[in-house]
């Protein structure tokens, strides 16, 4: 368990064009470039990547003609940029033309829809609109008036107009008013003051509103049919054309990314230079691969392998773990990678996570079912890494399920097996009143052991990095460990364990007071060990120390008590199954089976989710905070991606 050893490689090329070299590096997918060149080239101004906009246009065109815009693997075929650009632009123009016609049709259909809405309100009118508009001396206005204003119309009884309503939609009266031409302005003003909204009947509306509606619906169908024809793009791009466009896209994607990689290359007058990290096991493969490029040399650089180099020149981190721990790398990556050379906590996480999960989700039947679902559905079918994690955890669920004697919530179905093995009863009766306290105490004990392991891990990690002062004086160092373990030992008499030395004055001085003060003055002591003057006045040091130690003692207590949830979830799991069986026992026959089955599924789903989240919380908050500095740089080799946007976001 740990991380892959990296070697720093410098690559030199004889000319100015690093294209071939970059193509080889991308194909090998094992070279992580240094960022120095990127900064230098960014300051100098990068050349424009012409492939990117053409790729975007091509993908857009593929989508418009109904093809699948997902990029495919580049098969090595070369195309001429100018020819591709011309073809894509020509097809895009055809698509744009069609789009224009589609937009026209959509706008027309929207107008028809609006007109129909208005005409529906006028279906009470049985006169042709042509006749109405043909009136020479009368003006007519179609529209709607708010209901509150409609009530005011009687005020204008002595004015020369007639309003006829044909519909009321709850808020507005739809209708029309006739007015003599000579009074049109006055009456229009009156209706405007009543918030009358005039409706303009389109020129294409003829006959009665019913006839007009029928006409519009016919024209609407014709346009919709034309729209449907236009949606079919096969006359612009046949399947063979779409396939060719997809090949262009994959070539453009390839060229775009190779061009983009130039930002890692420093070009001088007659040479170019690119440096980066390669896994030690891939160095020979890289050198062999570069032999294909004329004049290119690759040499290892021992100095840059040093772990204690500048912080931004640290080698990248690629985790290497065994079969069991490998899926748990996703949790480490989620939190942040360890620095190169630091301890890889993946193995620790794998064991603690699976163990705690198993303790909190202990049931033989549910464990087996969970494992099967996780492996075959989540991993095999849906390719979720979490499936592999849950499958491993389910093994521990089964183990602890045997310990609890629980199979799908049946607490006594394994009793014959225990009797056959010579046991009077199953090892652990979860819901027995006398056992509950033991479960909770055991949870806290497990928590103490895990916290101690985490602190020890942190001590080892600091020793490897030769950070001696922190190892001794820090809260998560030797002082903190001694202090914590000594405090815990003081509580042992509560569990009936008497140790002779514990509680004595020398014990209190050596194991509690001394570590306490070492931690209190950790910062000034570390400064003195480094030959520097401690920062701040005496008062500042005392005050800071007070608050630091207050926080320390509190966090030790809270981190320890946090593990009570482990025991809590053991009880919750058993309790929930008790509820399921209580409900099932109230019925009988088929319903009993149904309730037990559905109850099991429900408890499994809920418990698996909650337990998974709670254990992750324990890992991140109670455990990682003790030793894990997530300052590692992920190993990101040069390679051609089929989803560059997603990779960039990551």
């Amino acid at each position: 368990m740990g991380m892959v050893k990296m070697k720093h490689i410098n690559i030199y090329g004889p000319e100015q064009d690093p294209q071939q070299t970059l193509e080889v590096l991308a194909k090998l997918a094992c070279f992580h470039p240094d960022k120095d060149a990127e900064r230098i080239n960014a300051a100098a101004g990068a050349a424009e990547n012409l492939y990117a906009p053409l790729l975007a246009s091509t993908l857009g065109l593929i989508k418009d003609v109904g093809g699948d815009p997902a990029l495919q693997e580049y098969r090595g075929r070369f195309f001429e940029y100018g020819a591709v650009k011309d073809e894509v632009e020509a097809l895009s123009a055809q698509v744009a033309e069609r789009g224009k016609r589609q937009a026209e049709i959509s706008a027309k259909l929207a107008t028809y829809a609006q007109t129909k809405t208005q005409l529906y309100h006028l279906t009470g009118l049985h006169t042709s609109v042509d006749e109405i508009f043909a009136c020479k001396y009368l003006k007519v206005r179609f529209g709607r008036i708010p209901k509150d204003s409609y009530l005011k119309l009687p005020y204008y009884d002595d004015h020369s107009f007639t309003f006829s309503e044909y519909d009321f939609d709850g808020e507005y009266y739809w209708g029309m008013y006739f007015v003599p031409e000579s009074h049109a302005k006055e009456v229009d003003d009156i209706f405007a003051s009543l918030y009358f909204e005039r409706m303009w009947v389109p020129d294409f509306v003829h006959g009665t509103p019913q006839d007009a509606l029928a006409q519009i619906m016919t024209q609407e169908s014709e346009l919709q049919a034309e729209q449907k024809e236009l949606d079919n793009m096969s006359d612009i791009a046949a399947p063979a054309d779409i396939e060719r466009l997809r090949e262009y896209a994959s070539w453009l994607n390839y060229e775009m990314q190779i061009f983009d990689m130039r930002k890692y290359v420093i070009t001088l007058e007659h040479t170019y230079y690119i440096s980066g990290y390669v896994p030690e096991s891939d160095v020979e493969r890289l050198k062999q691969g570069l032999l294909m490029v004329h004049g290119v040399k690759a040499c290892e650089d021992d100095e840059a392998d040093a772990v204690d180099g500048a912080p931004d020149r640290q080698p990248p981190v690629k985790l290497k773990n065994n079969w069991f721990a490998r899926p748990f790398e996703m949790f480490i990556t989620m939190y942040g990678l360890p620095g190169y050379g630091d301890l890889d906590p993946t193995g620790f996480v794998a064991v603690t996570y699976a163990l705690l999960f198993g303790i909190m989700f202990g049931d033989v039947g549910q464990g087996v079912l969970l494992g099967l679902i996780a492996y075959f559905v989540m991993w095999k079918k849906m390719h979720m890494e979490l499936g592999r994690v849950v499958a491993r955890c389910s093994v521990f669920s089964v183990i602890f399920g045997f310990l609890y004697g629980s199979v799908f919530g049946y607490e006594h179905v394994l009793d014959p097996m225990f009797h056959a093995l010579g046991f009077a009863e199953k090892p652990l009766e979860v819901l027995a009143p006398e056992g509950i306290n033991n479960i909770l105490i055991a949870s806290v004990v497990a928590g103490v052991l895990i916290i101690v392991s985490a602190i020890v891990t942190g001590i080892i990690s600091n020793l490897r990095k030769h950070i001696i002062a922190k190892t001794i004086f820090s809260v998560n160092g030797v002082s903190g460990l001694v202090f914590y373990v000594s405090l815990i030992a003081l509580l042992l008499p509560m569990l009936g364990m008497e140790l002779p030395f514990v509680g004595s004055v020398p014990y209190l001085i050596l194991c509690i007071a001394v570590p306490f003060f070492l931690m209190y003055f950790a910062e000034p002591l570390s400064a003195l060990c480094a030959g520097e003057k401690p920062e701040g006045s005496v008062g500042d040091i005392l005050l800071n120390g007070f608050f630091e130690m207050f926080d320390t003692v509190l966090s030790f207590a809270s981190n320890t008590m946090s593990f009570l949830r482990v025991g809590g979830f053991v009880l919750v799991h058993a309790g929930m199954m008790t509820v399921v069986f209580t409900l099932a026992n109230m019925t009988g026959g088929v319903f009993y089976v149904l309730i037990v089955a559905v109850g099991n599924v429900f408890v499994m789903a809920l418990e698996a989710l909650f337990v998974g989240i709670q254990v992750l919380r324990l890992e991140f908050y109670e455990i990682f905070s003790r030793f894990f500095d997530a300052n590692g740089v992920p190993f990101a080799p040069l390679r051609i991606s089929l989803d560059p946007a997603a990779d960039k976001a990551e």
């Binding site: 509150d148 918030y195 909204e197």
Partner: protein, 350 residues
């Protein structure tokens, strides 16, 4: 009216309505809008207004329509609460009485300015079926005498008859306003004394007394600021509503007796009025009456929160609803004239 048990439902219902009022954050959002249409769209999607404003058109919108819709909203809330009371009239009728008086005064104001046919534009259509006299007939009235004929048979006839000008004389609008406002407040306060007692009566009356007092103080301020030589202290005392809140009749009369705005402000700010309603200044940009109305807002809010008497809660809610209506109209005007949120905030009463 509200003695029956179902009226007790008014309290939780009113508080539920009040809980959906615009918050400070909602007002800020409205003030940041760039047009009246955006403000209206925002109000239409707010749960407090969605029923009453849904008829407003997004494309063809007039400011007066929004104001009428907001008035309709207040009325709808009143109606929704009155559903729980089986006995019409008595205290709950004060809302309709105030609405009727406001319409009557609007018509009289227009008549006093010589506008005989303009009232129809501002007639609230939603009120037309509800009033005790015909608003349409009122719109058609061309003189104060015609108005008297319209309100014949209602209590307003007696009040209007008392202020009608003699033949050939101009209608004195201020006199009309004084007469009707005095009638309104004395009637409501008397009704409260009949319907309620003790703390509930005192709390409910305090709200109306405060309203009347604010009216009086505002009247005095405007008179001193803009009409000082024309309106003498004696004239002003005749225009004051004879209803007093935190200021006694003596204090109010003392304010009326001041000579000029400076003296008025000095006495106002140094006295109980300044303590309760906040200081006023002579600066025309200072919307001084806002601080008085804010005091009313706080009083109504407190009553709504702590009271469990249906009448008190009803009065408090409707008071707040009217203030909210006024706030929204200020926001709309501010947005229309391109004022910044800070400038608009100065006019809001909360």
């Amino acid at each position: 009216m509200l003695e029956n048990l179902s009226a007790l439902a008014i309290v939780p219902k009113a508080k539920a309505i009040a809980a959906r009022r615009l918050s400070h954050g909602d007002y800020l959002e409205l003030m940041r809008k760039r047009s009246v249409i955006e403000v209206t769209a925002a109000l239409q999607s707010h749960p407090y207004f969605k029923d009453s404003l849904k008829g407003l058109s997004q494309t063809n919108l007039h400011r007066a329509q929004i104001e009428e819709a907001l008035s309709k909203d207040v009325y709808y809330k009143y109606e929704s609460l009155m559903r729980y009371s089986f006995r019409k009239g008595k205290f709950g009728a004060y809302f309709l009485m105030r609405s009727e008086i406001n319409e009557l005064l609007a018509k009289l104001r227009l008549l006093s300015m010589g506008f005989r046919h303009h009232y129809i534009i501002q007639v609230p259509g939603f009120l037309m079926p509800k009033t005790s006299f015909s608003l349409l007939r009122l719109a058609k009235a061309e003189s104060a005498q015609d108005c008297l004929a319209v309100v014949a048979g209602t209590p307003y006839a007696k009040v209007l008859a008392g202020v009608l000008p003699a033949a050939g004389q101009k209608l004195d609008y201020l006199k009309c306003e004084h007469a009707f406002q005095s009638y309104f407040y004395t009637t409501v306060l008397a009704q409260i004394d009949r319907d309620l007692s003790g703390r509930s009566a005192a709390d409910t009356k305090r709200l109306f007394r405060m309203e009347a007092e604010i009216y009086n103080l505002d009247l005095l301020f405007r008179a001193k600021a803009f009409f000082s030589p024309q309106l003498t202290p004696e004239d002003l005392k005749k225009l004051l509503i004879p209803v007093y809140g935190v200021l006694s009749a003596k204090n109010m009369n003392a304010l009326a007796d001041t000579r000029g705005l400076d003296e008025f402000l000095k006495l106002y700010n140094a006295g109980r009025a300044g303590q309760v309603y906040g200081a006023r200044s002579a600066d025309p940009a200072d919307a001084s009456e806002v601080s008085e109305t804010r005091a009313l807002y706080r009083a109504a809010q407190k009553l709504l929160h702590f009271s469990s008497t249906p009448q008190t809660v009803l009065a408090a809610l409707l008071c707040l609803a009217n203030l909210e209506r006024s706030n929204i109209i200020n926001v709309i005007e501010g947005v229309r004239y391109g004022l910044s949120p800070e400038q608009i905030s100065a006019f809001l009463k909360y």
